[in-house]
Symmetry: C2
Subunit: 135 residues, 2 copies
């Protein structure tokens, strides 16, 4: 479990003013690596922070993404998911149980010839199917 003090420094180091709400949202993402939705983040935190607004969660997550400390996962077309693991990795979603699994990408995968002339900012690899338990 990440401590408040550490998160405070981490946010500051990335140009983010560490308000209480922002710290709590980041800690939640840091401690829950199951790629939660806005709704699940909100529902979890509003128990502790009764005044919390869902708009704040949206604003905070957008800010975190702009500052580069979280990834937005759009493996599902009808809702975004969020990830404090900003390493270059892929996501697998099981169509049966809904769980989203991380997997490593080869070191310099996707060094596509045709894209020599393109400048690449983001890379997303999404797979869907059945996980070992559900298969």
């Amino acid at each position: 479990m990440r401590t408040i003090e550490k998160t405070d420094e981490y946010l500051k180091a990335h140009g983010i003013m560490p308000s209480y709400q922002r710290i709590r949202v980041f800690d939640y993402l840091h401690n829950n690596r199951n790629h939660p939705t806005v709704d699940s983040i909100y529902k979890e935190l509003v128990g502790d922070i009764p005044s919390l607004s869902k708009t704040t969660v949206y604003n905070t997550l957008r800010l975190f993404n702009e500052k580069g400390i979280i990834l937005i996962i759009n493996i599902e077309d009808n809702e975004s998911r969020f990830d404090a693991d900003i390493s270059n990795h892929g996501h697998f979603k099981c169509k049966e149980c809904g769980e989203i699994f991380d997997f490593d990408l080869g070191k310099d995968d996707l060094h596509i010839l045709k894209l020599e002339e393109f400048s690449i900012d983001e890379q997303h690899v999404y797979l869907k199917g059945r996980c070992p338990k559900c298969k």
Copy 2:
């Protein structure tokens, strides 16, 4: 330009009753490889088919996807795009001009070790950045 007769056969071969609307939607996708949205498909076709309903476009595209003759591209989180090219390829979206480019994936890319035990149905590779023109 694909002829109506050919599309008619193609749809039948995939268990799809070739109604006039379905043929026109498929032909549009087959002839426009720029990954159009529901709205652009609808706006283009309703000029020719005044009775066309956007619901029909949605229904038709969902059916095509279920039958495996088109891909749904969710590179953008706020709208789906559609592709009659069902070969295994990746998509690059330019953040400047918005254009979506196709690119080849290595033959058996993404043969990830960790995923040996998983059964993979779909694979999506999305990149974002600047295209050569906009860079």
